[in-house]
């Protein structure tokens, strides 16, 4: 793409390499872990565990991808291209489940639906003690929960793509004799494919990295094996070796996705659609409303009600002064990290566009892999890198300058934690930015150039306004992800920087789920407002801002 350079090309190359190096730093630790092998653990894993773990992981990934694509695309299609009762608020409300951490939904669903939960207890009291229904603690149950928490990735990105497509194309397809369904399959869906792929990729990477939710289900995946090897065998080395294998799978999956997608790019049209394309009237409209409401109820309303029930039935009052500092910490970390991560991701995405060299592209692609790493493993990688810098460089330097008590500056500092978030969530931020950059028609900057605008002016007046929806989506995703983030926060937070997620961990680590209702509700509530604001802003037609 002939994006005019704001600064010279070698500079952009440097940006890409620096960004990639930053994110690759913890991955280096994975590579170094192969210096030796613990044969007895490996033999044990291969003989007794590996086949089952691989099978479970595969089934889970396929199930989650199928589920999030089905749910995310259908909901996005309805809310962005159709008109039906309640569409206006369902449009943003369907993003709300994103504010619920996977581990919270997991324990709420099990609390509700397992044998000892209220539903089955009620059914037994009606139908007799011998009544048995399906078990939520099963493969289907895990997939069910993960789909409900991860579909917003696909929903949000697909919705953006559908909104940007403009009605002209779909109308043209209709005029050419395609049925609405046919037009969807042949025109809208293929054009939204990069966005859907990006959303599904995020969902599957989250799934592979997830430890909290699968542990609540005691569903063994590759990731639970990584933790077990570390926490049980105390072999961090073998655990990181396993983690690097996991990354290899992700690499293959992403590569396959890229290959299937090809290099097709679909620039947006001049006139994004203004009104709904399909007005669903009568029963069809209400059917659409019912479908959206059902998803919202199961993924958000009912879990929240259960949390409130636990909160109100417990006689403890845990809400004290420390809660305000928990909320303040959580919000500030989320906001700062979102700003930083989006800025850096924007630079890197631009760098890749400006320097479409193979090496730059693969550096950036590799950098995004960090997201599929189990949080703790990534956190440990970052921690090792930082403490290496502290021990080998910063502490000796302080001693050299005559500082009385040289201390580590990086590890345990706010800076280190923010950098950890940056590294972890780079992939989340670059997805939406990348797709919205891809939709900018080359003719626009070219026209601006011919009108005499220089590089920076083009960036500021043409690119940035067009990228705003993408930047907002990216910021929102990172913000909410930071709120929910647990392992890196636990390991790297400075003293006194406990967050709501840390509090949830404290209580659930000893199985006190109902008591975790208070921090869980606070966490969801904290994430809600930004979700609502941002999704509503990004719902405005793109054209309004570019005029």
């Amino acid at each position: 793409m002939p994006l005019p350079s704001v600064v010279s090309k070698p500079h952009w190359r440097a940006v890409a390499y620096t960004g990639a190096a930053l994110v690759l730093m913890p991955l280096l630790v994975l590579a170094l872990s192969w210096s030796s092998l613990d044969i007895s653990i490996w033999r044990h894993l291969l003989e007794t565990q590996m086949l089952r773990l691989l099978g479970n992981t595969l089934v889970l990934s396929v199930g989650v991808v199928a589920g999030v694509v089905l749910l995310g695309v259908s909901l996005a299609w309805l809310t962005s291209l159709c008109e039906f009762p309640g569409r206006r608020w369902l449009d943003w409300a369907l993003m709300l489940p994103f504010a619920v951490p996977a581990y919270v939904l997991a324990f709420v669903m099990i609390g509700l639906l397992d044998f000892a939960g209220p539903l089955q207890t009620l059914l037994r009291s009606w139908l007799g003690n011998d009544f048995r229904m399906f078990s939520i603690r099963s493969t289907g149950g895990v997939i069910f929960v993960l789909v409900l928490v991860f579909y917003p990735y696909v929903y949000m990105l697909a919705r953006g793509a559908f909104l940007a497509q403009g009605r002209g194309l779909m109308e043209a397809a209709r005029i050419l004799g395609h049925s609405p369904w046919h037009a969807f399959w042949r025109v809208a869906l293929p054009m939204a494919r990069p966005a859907i792929g990006a959303g599904a990729a995020l969902a599957v990477m989250e799934t592979l990295a997830d430890f909290g939710a699968v542990s609540v289900f005691n569903y063994d995946t590759f990731t639970t094996a990584i933790y077990k090897t570390w926490y049980g065998f105390y072999s961090l080395q073998t655990a990181t070796q396993l983690a690097s294998l996991l990354l290899l799978f992700v690499l293959l999956a992403l590569y396959a996705e890229r290959r299937a997608q090809g290099s097709r790019r679909f620039p947006g049209v001049d006139k994004p659609r203004q009104g709904a394309l399909f007005r669903l009237r009568g029963a069809r409209g209400w059917l659409a409303t019912g479908y959206c409401l059902l998803v919202l109820a199961i993924a958000f309303v009912i879990p929240l009600l259960q949390l409130f029930y636990w909160l109100l039935t417990s006689d403890r009052n845990d809400f004290d002064d420390r809660y305000w500092s928990l909320i303040r910490n959580t919000l500030s970390l989320g906001a700062i990290a979102a700003f930083l991560t989006v800025s850096v991701a924007l630079l890197i995405v631009l760098a890749r566009r400006l320097q479409p060299m193979r090496r730059v592209r693969s550096a950036v692609a590799l950098a995004n892999l960090g997201y599929a790493l189990p949080g703790s493993v990534l956190a440990v990688g970052i921690m090792f890198a930082f403490s290496f810098a502290d021990n080998q460089l910063l502490v000796p330097l302080q001693g050299w300058f005559g500082v009385d008590e040289p201390r580590p500056w990086l590890l345990g500092s706010l800076f280190a934690l923010l950098l950890a978030y940056l590294i972890r969530f780079m992939a989340v931020a670059s997805g939406p930015i990348d797709t919205s950059l891809a939709r900018i028609r080359p003719a626009l900057p070219e026209a601006a150039h011919s009108l005499g605008h220089s590089g920076f002016s083009v960036f500021w007046r043409v690119y940035l306004p067009l990228l705003v929806p993408g930047l907002l989506s990216a910021g929102l995703l990172v913000f909410v992800d930071v709120l929910k983030e647990m392992p890196a926060t636990l390991l790297m937070r400075p003293f006194g920087w406990d967050t709501l997620a840390v509090r949830i961990h404290s209580l659930t680590a000893e199985g006190d789920w109902p008591r975790a209702a208070l921090p869980a509700i606070t966490l969801v509530a904290t994430g809600l407002l930004p979700v609502i604001i941002l999704i509503r802003r990004s719902a405005q037609p793109v054209s309004r801002r570019t005029r």
């Binding site: 044990h44 044998f115 542990s215 005691n218 105390y234 961090l236 021990n391 502490v395 590890l411």
Partner: protein, 333 residues
């Protein structure tokens, strides 16, 4: 007049100085959770003016961090749960031995590191919980007996990934031998009424709801539920009273190798073994004080006294890997 004034100034200076000397700070890494340690910290701050900086996380990440920080660690003290984890901390060289007559006098040797690296502070029994509605306690005898066919489809277990079960298995391997332990574990797994639970609370809920009749849990989980619902139709049973006794595990602490405030840390650790601290430390989580001269809380005492397994708790660490492999082989997930 001026003499008095001088004296006053000197007195003020001394009190300020000693105030500075006492208002120390200790840095703690803790795998024991926030709400279980904060009350003890607060009490100590109130008494001595020593303040605390602390972070909580799981054992393995905390150990990794201590190791990575090396000589530059800010941490003075490591608090953790489970003997296996304490043993690991000792092995990985992040602790430095403490020789203290106070600790030695307060805590029995079997709950301390043989080399003085760490000391146990509270005990929990991992024992049998049974439904008072569907089980006659006369049916119960030992952990091993739960492998009998009489319990087919009636037993609930927690996941083998939890260190408490790994420690239980390790001590059984030590007392019964690998072969017998394998048989027992196989029996348990085939007696399972439902897939294993992620935590003991869920397990106890399942017993209450009637999904299973017996299970193996840590005593304090039961205590927590019983406190919330005195009518709970579940009771604790103390198995193996005619042989080795009930499996007990500890939570404990040690001073880090590179502690910046070693003396303060030792003083705090010593205080933790005294009656005043033991009360808070154990009672806040319905545990048994590791200092045997301190009586457990009324509620904990109401569960009855029992014979404890005297096998050295360090076995839990030494045979942990072996135990996990055994559990994997018998299909206990």
């Amino acid at each position: 007049m001026s003499v008095i004034r001088k004296l006053a100034v000197v007195g003020l200076a001394i009190s300020t100085l000693s105030g500075v000397a006492q208002a120390k700070e200790l840095v703690v890494y803790s795998a024991r959770q926030d709400h279980l340690i904060k009350p003890v910290f607060d009490l100590y701050t109130e008494k001595t003016g020593t303040t605390f900086q602390f972070i909580t996380d799981s054992e393995a990440p905390l150990l990794a961090r201590l190791k990575a920080e090396g000589a530059n660690t800010p941490a003075d003290l490591l608090i953790t749960v489970d003997a296996g984890n304490l043993w690991q901390a000792e092995q990985q060289g992040v602790l430095r031995p403490v020789e203290s007559d106070i600790i030695n006098a307060n805590i029995p040797a079997k709950y301390r590191s043989a080399n003085g690296y760490w000391t146990g502070l509270s005990l929990r029994a991992r024992t049998i919980a049974y439904s008072t509605e569907r089980v006659d306690p006369a049916e119960l005898s030992t952990y091993e007996a739960l492998a009998d066919e009489a319990w087919a489809g009636r037993l609930c277990l927690r996941t083998a990934k939890k260190v408490y079960n790994q420690s239980l298995t390790a001590t059984m391997m030590e007392s019964l031998g690998v072969e017998r332990t394998t048989e027992v574990l196989q029996g348990w797994v085939s007696n399972l009424a439902t897939p294993v639970f992620p935590d003991d609370t869920a397990l106890l809920n399942a017993i209450e709801a009637g999904q299973c009749d017996v299970g193996i849990v840590n005593s304090y989980y039961f205590g927590r539920l019983e406190a919330a619902n005195p009518e709970l139709p579940i009771k604790l049973f103390w198995p193996n009273q005619d042989d080795r006794g009930v499996h007990v595990n500890i939570s404990g602490a040690g001073v880090t190798h590179y502690a910046k405030h070693r003396r303060g840390a030792i003083a705090f650790l010593e205080w933790l073994t005294t009656e005043e601290a033991q009360r808070v430390f154990a009672d806040v989580n319905q545990e048994f004080p590791a200092n045997e001269s301190v009586a457990p809380s009324e509620e904990v005492a109401s569960w009855g006294s029992f014979k404890r397994d005297d096998v050295n708790v360090e076995v839990a660490g030494r045979r942990q890997a072996e135990a996990i492999m055994l559990m994997d082989r018998v299909g206990w997930n």
